[in-house]
């Protein structure tokens, strides 16, 4: 029973770990603790999964709830300041543009409030529908849409805005 259910869950471990890692700003030990808690809870509540249901969505929902209840409170790094302004408007050779763009966007994502980061990642990185994202995060779909819009606007402002203001937009 345990083995069979684990086999079904197993295929989702890479994407759960990726989501947890980005959610926890690349704090690997904490991210893997979160995934482990999620898997343990899924296995212990296996009877609650309604087949044929969306197992991936169910697992992300469990992970989300654990994160909100347990982890978010513990994440505090008073001695570390994440910086927002790296690589603004640098003059760079073209082969670096993509990498810098990547860094700008990922840094902007790290700066987003939790709820906006979750929504953006679930929709864009994980490809969940708006309905699924609403289920996972436990909010109405209207809230998903407004979080998504605000998240994207902040990322846009952080990356495109700066480079454009300085007249050296990197594309």
């Amino acid at each position: 029973m345990q083995r069979r259910s684990y086999e079904l869950i197993e295929t989702h471990i890479p994407s759960l770990r990726r989501y947890a890692l980005v959610l926890l700003r690349h704090d690997e030990p904490r991210a893997d603790d979160l995934v482990q808690d999620c898997l343990e809870r899924a296995l212990s509540r296996w009877h609650l999964w309604r087949r044929p249901g969306n197992l991936r969505g169910w697992l992300f929902t469990i992970l989300h709830n654990i994160y909100v209840n347990d982890v978010a409170r513990a994440v505090a790094r008073p001695d570390v300041v994440e910086i927002q302004d790296y690589f603004p408007a640098m003059a760079v050779p073209p082969n670096q543009a993509d990498r810098i763009r990547l860094r700008e966007v990922t840094a902007a994502i790290q700066e987003l409030p939790d709820t906006q980061r979750q929504t953006l990642l679930l929709v864009t990185m994980e490809g969940f529908s708006y309905d699924e994202t609403a289920d996972i995060t436990g909010v109405p779909i209207g809230t998903v849409m407004s979080r998504l819009s605000r998240a994207r606007e902040k990322v846009r402002a952080a990356s495109w805005g700066e480079t454009r203001e300085n007249g050296r937009r990197i594309k």
Binding site: R17, H26, V80, E82, I83, S129, Y130
Partner: protein
């Protein structure tokens, strides 16, 4: 439907970006955008961001699954000491000892990035004040220094050239890193005698991170991870000045 398509709502704009707008309405919205360059430019930028986000974290899917997850299918998991030992043996066999395990073992309050920065700052404080024995291998033997450290860290190192920033390479040394084996330290010096160190260790987690900033005692540090290596640049003075040096270093490392 009239000739003038209805102005799209913000939700429709988001759905368009995600490819989730129904086809009929999508044609209308695209027609409207073709007449409205500013919203059209915004949509293009949002699409560009989505493309970046979709791919930005793909490399994280490739990480090997830790033993602690692989064991879960056969028995109920607990974080017992016995399990920790078993996991460590597997990890060592994989050649990936350290990393999450070492940190997990000392409790969730231990942030690996903070310990990286802390180790680098300690090394800076230890050697930057040394006058005669600041380095193990001097800059006059730079080629040997870089080859040696690259061999020990099992990754292609470079000693960035910071001459344009007013810092010349003094030399470097090998150090014990906190968890990931050996670390390298390159030391730089300004005309004024002010010193800067670049600390490099293996990046066991993989992937890239943003620049991060922290201060310890009287020094400041920027650190970042880039592929196989993690870097910490440490110096005195203003954060903005150190940031400029960190950018120059990054560029030198990624020509």
């Amino acid at each position: 439907m009239s000739d003038l398509p209805e102005i799209p709502t913000e939700d429709e704009i988001q759905a368009l970006v995600d490819g989730r707008l129904d086809p009929g309405r999508r044609a209308d919205v695209e027609a409207w955008l073709s007449e409205n360059p500013d919203p059209a430019a915004r949509v293009a930028e949002l699409r560009d961001i989505s493309t970046v986000v979709e791919r930005a974290y793909d490399h994280l899917l490739e990480r090997p699954i830790p033993a602690r997850f692989q064991n879960m299918g056969s028995r109920s998991m607990t974080r017992s000491p016995v399990w920790r030992v078993a996991a460590m043996i597997v990890l060592i066999a994989m050649g990936a000892a350290g990393g999450w395990f070492a940190n997990d073992a000392v409790g969730p309050g231990n942030d690996p990035d903070v310990s990286l920065a802390r180790g680098a700052v300690k090394a800076h404080q230890m050697y930057a004040r040394e006058v005669r024995h600041a380095v193990e291998v001097p800059a006059s033997e730079e080629t040997h220094l870089v080859a040696w450290l690259s061999k020990r860290l099992d990754a292609p190192l470079r000693a960035p050239n910071l001459d344009d920033q007013g810092y010349r390479l003094v030399g470097g040394r090998l150090l014990p890193a906190s968890e990931s084996g050996p670390a390298a330290q390159f030391m730089y010096e300004a005309e004024s005698g002010e010193r800067l160190t670049l600390y490099v260790e293996q990046n066991l987690v993989g992937g890239e991170t943003a620049f991060r900033f922290t201060e310890y005692d009287d020094v400041s540090a920027f650190w970042w991870k880039d592929g196989p290596l993690a870097y910490v640049l440490i110096g005195q003075g203003e954060r903005d000045r150190l940031l400029a040096l960190a950018r120059a270093t990054y560029q030198e490392l990624n020509p």
